[in-house]
């Protein structure tokens, strides 16, 4: 065997070894359609058995969710997102995600508040501006692999139910609402991530009340009906997993820059902005304007970039955690 062929064999083995243990290689941007890659997969006999059930479920789902003729056009991903007309969303249907183990492709980012709703404010900084800044940075980080849309790209009012509607219409796989918290005076600054669920904690109820203050178009009965329908669904598990990944990344990354940062954990609370989402959805309180030192950090662009990078890492961790499931289905 020639030296060249011999080395070629060794390199091939090294490449295979790295591929076996490494991540899924992605398509190069130089190839046509730089969008995220869906790998072709062999279909297992078991998944063929599921096909009629899935088809029936899909047909029923489509029938139930037939769009009204006056609906706004589907939000473009990667392009400016126009808030759709006010539309009352029906209760989200239960979706067993394990039947459709697909990788994350589309992400909708929701910068909290906006327009006439500034959110919390301190030292000349407002929650709405910070959330938008962080969302832009996060979009820039994510768009190498994912299709990313934002519920608002400017300082504008977007109703809470419209935000999830935008995500639903964009076919988003993940919805992340970005907020900045305000904590009681004696509490150290911390990060916390929420997914939709009930809470008995009066403090969390107060926070949800603040964040829900813009909620319009829902009656109390609607909310109760929606919540009752939502809690039992598998999507809640995925939302919790997404929240856990984001919370871990936020605390680890930002804790490196602020040793006093508190890990306030993953929690469930009834945020209206999460109710209508048909995909894993979380609300991240990435900082707090009630802390004077934190306000100074938030004036620093590099800190805002760190927040965006932490969110980026959390979303990627969650997305990558889904890949083994996808592999199993093609085995």
């Amino acid at each position: 065997m020639s030296d060249r062929r011999f080395k070629r064999g060794l390199i091939e083995a090294a490449v295979r070894d790295n591929e076996t243990h490494g991540p899924t290689p992605l398509r190069s941007r130089d190839e046509p359609d730089a969008g995220p890659v869906r790998r072709s997969r062999r279909v297992s006999p078991w998944s063929l058995l599921l096909l009629p059930i899935a088809a029936a479920a899909a047909l029923a789902y489509l029938e139930l969710n037939r769009p009204a003729p006056d609906l706004p056009p589907t939000a473009e991903v990667d392009g400016p997102v126009q808030p759709p007309e006010i539309l009352f969303t029906g209760p989200p249907e239960a979706v067993d995600v394990s039947v459709f183990p697909l990788p994350v492709e589309r992400i909708v980012l929701d910068p909290g508040h906006g327009g006439s709703s500034p959110g919390t404010a301190a030292g000349g900084l407002t929650e709405k501006a910070l959330a938008l800044d962080i969302a832009y940075r996060l979009r820039n980080l994510l768009d190498d692999r994912y299709r990313v849309a934002m519920t608002r790209e400017a300082d504008m009012n977007v109703a809470l139910d419209h935000r999830t509607l935008i995500a639903n219409r964009a076919g988003a796989d993940v919805f992340v609402s970005i907020h900045v918290n305000w904590l009681p005076a004696n509490r150290a600054c911390g990060v916390e991530t929420y997914y939709l669920g009930p809470t008995d904690d009066p403090e969390l109820s107060a926070l949800a009340e603040r964040e829900n203050s813009e909620a319009q178009g829902y009656s109390l009965g609607d909310l109760r009906r929606l919540l009752d329908g939502v809690y039992a669904q598998a999507r809640q598990d995925d939302s919790r997993a997404l929240a856990t990944a984001i919370q871990a990344a936020l605390f680890v990354r930002l804790g490196a820059e602020n040793p006093e940062l508190r890990n306030r954990g993953v929690k469930s609370a009834p945020f209206v902005v999460l109710i209508g989402a048909e995909m894993p959805a979380v609300l991240a309180e990435v900082s707090c304007l009630s802390d004077a030192k934190e306000v100074e950090r938030l004036r620093n662009e590099s800190y805002l970039q760190s927040i965006a990078e932490a969110l980026d890492a959390g979303i990627r961790d969650y997305a990558e955690s889904l890949l083994p499931k996808a592999k199993l289905s093609g085995a």
Binding site: F6, K7, G9, A14, N18, G22, S28
Partner: protein, 352 residues
């Protein structure tokens, strides 16, 4: 009307070899740049330190020198990235970032046009491969991770009937190359390495000179300068004793500490050789390559060669410039990997 757009020209691809060591890390780039940094990373302990240092993070010898003000990390200590330690992962990322900054002139080659072969201690490869890959994501377009001994052997073109003994700071890696990509069965990792010698030496000095004030960093520096096995010495150094600079003779502590490497090395070498097919054992015995920073301990090659006498004799060659032998080997390998293979190895952020 359709508009034709011309794709921007692709940036030139730069191949690099990186040796991510427990004590030193190095980079060799196809543009001729070669750099080494100590594998230390430090973050200012508090606001005062940050103000004094005027930096958010320090890497290399600078971090070591300013350690009182820093939360100092040696992320690959004992050859492993500590599981779940975000600080250590961040430290590895900072080391790679610094190496790339040194080797890649500003604006010449974007990170998206760099292909890297990264050599790591065999134990890191076994336990932390996924962590490592995540850490390297986004820093370069494509990465191939291999064990350090394989990178060394590839660079020295010693891929057949060879044993590489790589004595680093945290681990000693032994690997038999038999003309195939080494598997776990072909490799052994010992935690008896340079750091163990440092600790041993430090303990013996403290035992012999209880009034002397000697830090582990001083012991390490003396070892790097005066280490030996067999005949050697005397080793006389200055150390504060009750606050006064005093000359102390550390010849025996040095000899004993360095010779603590011999027995585990001898046992593991003989075990690995015994597993080679009988007809090739003599060739492997006569083709032992000793490398790594601690491979330069005076007399160590001769002592190991003597140990091979139990099996009928052998020959040990010592790599004289171990600092870059791993990264040079990685670069040689990187240059031989075909473009289509680099595409297969592209990470999530690779856009080459």
């Amino acid at each position: 009307m359709t508009t034709q757009t011309t794709a921007p020209p692709k940036p030139p691809v730069l191949k690099v070899g990186i040796d991510l060591g427990t004590s030193r890390s190095s980079i060799s780039a196809a543009n001729g740049e070669r750099h080494m940094v100590r594998s230390y990373v430090g973050w200012p302990r508090d606001m005062v330190a940050r103000k004094v240092l005027k930096r958010d993070v320090l890497v290399g010898i600078e971090a070591l020198e300013k350690r009182p003000m820093l939360d100092l990390r040696r992320p690959l200590e004992r050859g492993l990235i500590k599981e779940g330690s975000a600080r250590d992962e961040q430290a590895v990322r900072e080391i790679v970032r610094r190496l790339l900054e040194l080797a890649v002139p500003e604006g010449r080659n974007p990170r998206s046009a760099i292909h890297a072969v990264v050599g790591v201690p065999a134990e890191t490869l076994r336990v932390n491969r996924q962590n490592l890959r995540r850490i390297l994501d986004g820093q370069v377009a494509s990465t191939m991770i291999v064990s350090e001994p394989f990178a060394v052997a590839y660079g020295l073109d010693a891929l057949v009937h060879t044993m590489v003994v790589d004595i680093g700071a945290g681990t000693t890696d032994l690997c038999v190359l038999m003309g195939r990509f080494p598997t776990e069965n072909d490799q052994r990792t010992l935690t008896v390495a340079g750091d163990a010698v440092d600790l041993n030496l430090h303990a013996r000095i403290e035992e012999r000179f209880p009034d002397a004030s000697v830090s582990i960093h001083m012991a390490r520096a003396w070892k790097e300068k005066y280490s030996f096995v067999g005949g050697g010495g005397p080793v006389i150094v200055d150390a504060p004793v009750n606050g006064r600079p005093t000359r102390i003779d550390i010849t025996e502590p040095m000899r004993t500490a360095c010779e603590s490497l011999l027995e585990p090395l001898r046992e593991t070498m003989l075990d690995l050789i015994a597993r080679v097919e009988p007809e090739y054992q003599a060739q492997v015995r006569n083709n032992v390559i000793l490398t790594g920073g601690s491979g330069l301990i005076r007399g160590l090659g001769a002592a190991l060669q003597s140990a091979l006498g139990e099996l009928g004799g052998g020959r040990v060659r010592v790599v004289k410039d171990p600092v870059f032998v791993g990264s040079d080997g990685g670069l040689t390998l990187a240059n031989d990997v075909r473009d289509e293979d680099w595409l297969r190895l592209a990470g999530p952020r690779g856009d080459q």
